[in-house]
Amino acid sequence: MFKYLDSAMAPKELSMQTFRPLLARLVQTPEYFSANDLKEALNHLFTPDLLDPTQIGAFLVALHIHRVERRPESLSAAAAVLRERALKPAIEDLDKDFTVDIVGTGGDGFNLFNVSTAAGIAAAGAGARVIKVCCHAVISIPCADIKHSMGVELHRRLQAQLIFLSRSIAFLLPHHLERLSRSGVFPSPLFLHLIITAHWQRLHHTEKHCRAALCSTSWVLSLIPQALVEWSLESLKKSSAILLRNRFMRVAWNALLSSAVMRR
């Protein structure tokens, strides 16, 4: 039995039994599956060793099939959960010097060489302080590449807390991604986008000295620069609402989702 504290709610006990009614509501009556239900379900998903991977897989599939994941309020709710649960790395001299990141959404289907990790390492050697968020942990295996290259172990939580020394590079693994990936269901690009932005917000929101290169498979991230300026859940909600209102974008988005969601 696990407990979590939600600022808006009393402490709740989480178990497989408390997850079942949420899953049933999503599957049987998705129209009544609220943003709060999603928050509660994600808190179950992100609690270690609580749910069976098949339950997580069923949840992600139902979320996609019923298009609940595309509701602006769902994105906003999920971002809030992820932001609350994201780990905050300790970085030396962040007030004096800036850090940079290069991160891709992945999922383009081209199976290209993992260029962003290599580019991050090259930039680190040229004097940049690079903190590389490995968002591809679900979709590809760049971290595995690094591990094989040098026997570098990425100790998930340890690396997230790694004290960042001098000019070099650090890798951060959004640990929630791996939990989702164990279900064998590929989270949709929209959710990956969400996870990336939530972790980013946690990592960089309060830091002025942050610069980044974001790489996207689609037009979706064209909305991000403005969101980075006015970074808030409200702007994320607004961006997703704009996305879904535009018919052309909706068609393109559907094509993206259908090609990617069940890849694994």
Partner: protein, 143 residues
Amino acid sequence: MERALVVCGYEKIDEISCAGPTWIWELNHGRVTEGTIITPEDFGLSRHSLNRVMGGSPEENAETFKRIFCSGGNVPKDLIPVLEFVLMNASALLVVAGIAEDYKEGTKLARESIFSGKAWKALETFKDEGARFASKVILFRIS
């Protein structure tokens, strides 16, 4: 967030494309520049088709990575497309970081970083710090 570059290759790849144009959106101290285009030539590099920069298994990718980053400047001919693909993306990062003035200078700095072994050294530093940190935690748990 001071500066950011959002990119999308014409082929809908989530990198700066080595095969042709790439859309970019730039944020620079609150000002957003939308939808401009960059090409490999802006980096002073040649174009390479995407099938020349394909990935493989973790072992194969690690081998490619090592052959480039430990080359000391003698990068095998078959890996030039991958090297230049890495250089243009590293260059963009160095421009965003404010370390390079433009993409050509970024390419030059990234090339020097790889060929001099400084990039490999950066990864080694990370490895050593990670191992040191992990051993501390293990010792803490034992005690």
